[in-house]
Amino acid sequence: MNDKLTSKQLSKKITDEYMEDAFHAHDNNKLVGYTTAISPVEIFVAHDIVPIYPENHAVANLTAKKGVELCSVVEGMGYTSHLCAYARSDLGYRKTGVTVTRGIPDPDLFLACNAQCFTLTKWFQVLARRGDLPVFVFDTPEHILDQKARKEIVKYCVLQLKELISFLEKVTKRKFDYDRLKEVMKYSAASSILYKKFLDMAQYKPSPISIFDALIGMAIAVYRRGTQECVDYYQTLCNEIQAKVDQGIGVLPKDQEKYRLYWENLPVWFKFSDHAKLLGSYGGVILTSLYVHAWSFEFDLNKDPLETLAENYVNRFSNSTIEDRADMAMDLFKKYSMNGMIMFMNRSCKAVSFAVPTLKEVLTKRTGIPALVFESDMGDQRFYAESQVRTRIEAYFETLDRLGLAQKTAAA
């Protein structure tokens, strides 16, 4: 039946069913576990815990420009305005009930994986205090350059995954099923391959997708990985994009695609479509970022599931050294033939942004391409200066034009 649905219809169906399941979790003797978008959720799925991502809910509200309203409430509660807008808007939602969706179910437990950021751990601790609920911190030390240390880090993470399983067994009073985990891993591995294939279609000229398509397309990978439906969704999506490629359909027509751009950081959610239109008017398409690739896992099904989970979650871009992040970005530059870069200093996301000034230095040196750097916030409109950003974007394209970089590709 799914074969007849478009990827958009399928995404809606999967999401509706998922949320329905989440809201009725207790009716079905399931628990709701809040977790971070980058976390070994396969363990939750295998243990029939419904994963809920407060970040996703925050994105919906921030994209709908609810940031100021929700964040202001939280600042009145004593939280400073420079904390993550996801966290502030979520705490604002808890206080006011204001949301553009039907909301999210309350949690029974938390899993915070700091491979993504430390903020989420602290945010979850705030939520946990309200209900005196258990928090499990999956601590992922930075994936440092020392190869021997990396092996030790994986061992430490495997130990913690075993502790996580014991924690869940204790909370749910149910034995963990390792065979079920193996099955979940198969789905996760398959959907990750397809998700990466989808992202990599931005290699084509003209590119059939922009980062804005990737940001919409990544949602199912974030909250439904480890399921058959996730695999089905990405297969459908890949088929659709491949059809565009076959017909030569791009985000911009081939003769108008002048600048194939790299984006560093999360998006400015409330300026999502405006940015796409503005850039498009200059012949620019943002193709990718390390952020959207964060869910391109490479699980090795021949390994112990806990080991391959540990290896994959510890080496995400957000937990990598700046040197490794630069290498990862360079790989994308080469693969996608990019000739421009926008480096967003996101006040909300210290975990990603504090690397940006150094990363910008490295990438401009290695590519020979100038970078546009701007500071704002992914969700709090008070930190977004419309005219300033617009002026900088205009000036940046003028610079690229002057340098004759249109349709040139990055140097090695």
């Binding site: 400073t80 904390l83 911190v137 601590d139 030390p141 430490y156 040197e323 210290k350 975990a351 690397a355």
Partner: protein, 377 residues
Amino acid sequence: MWESLNLKDVVALARDPYPSIRQWARDTGKKVVGSTIADVPEEVIYAFDLLPVTILGTHKPLKKAPSHLPDNACSLARSNLELALSYEGDLFSGFVLPQVCDTTQHLSDIWRINFPDKFVTSYLAPRQADRPSARYWVKEEIERLIDSLGGWLGKKLDSGALANSIALHNENKTILKEFYEIKRNFPGAITNKQFFAMMKVSQQVDKAEFNKSLKAIKDGLKMKKGKNYTDVVMVGITCDPPEIFDIFDDLRVNIVGDTLVTGTRYLQGAPALNGDAIDALADRHFKRGFFSPIHDNVYKNFEEVKKLYKETKAKAVIYVHIEFCESQEYDLPDLKDMIKKEGIPMHVLDTEYQTTSLSHVLTRAQAFFESLKGGSL
């Protein structure tokens, strides 16, 4: 060089220890290794015949750090980076940089990239402390630090040197605890500024020498009770600039307990000398008090503060908030509520490294202590 200091010398040294450390390094020919807070096992560094120095910011202007870390980064992180990039970088032969939060994680990378010719290694402290895996990981990290330092210096760690180093550091902490006890009972004998200067200098100079100064200072103290002191507990990570202690001294406020990483937490959990040294150092990690980035037990901070407040019979809690410390900023609203519900008077002192004007701190502190006493001080 640091064997016969008096209290005045110690206060001056705490203000700017680097000329003195520089001189010491020249005189002894020994290498200096810098660390930021928290929890780097300095005993290991010292056992390699190196001088471990805890870097605690600079009061000189920021010039280079802002281009690496934006203005919403923790002011201590920016100040430390500035110290290394602009002022004292050449003094250090190497750095051991702990990672406890997003900022310190990036700080390590930025530091390493900016000092390609120096020894720079991270110390990856576990950011959970209540499970067996945390203990496993602390031990692994201590062993990795030993291997890294050994590889850099081309020598193996002498177990006798490590035992002696632990003994020397323990001695330092024992003396500092004795000072704290004197300070609690005889606030007229030693000021807040003097005491916390001794704490700071202890983390920055050779303890083999400095312990001698501390002992002599202690022996020479006049046990004065003083009058009209208000006892308080100080809560937080660090407290800077040192002139904040001047304000407390002027207001006759006596800090009788604290949870600072650069205060009591530094003194806690002396490693045992009668067993495996690495095990003892690993054990110490779990005997130390609450540190927001590494503890996921969200009530531990409150329970510790409450206990300390009761044990010391303090009259109030002073919370030192470092601007842009995300970890503190997530904890603080709930901690304030819990403390308020317990009926404990609390004053939040907002501070920032590189702060030059403290008039707002003084005004607010004066108002708080006046209200605490129900009238004028």
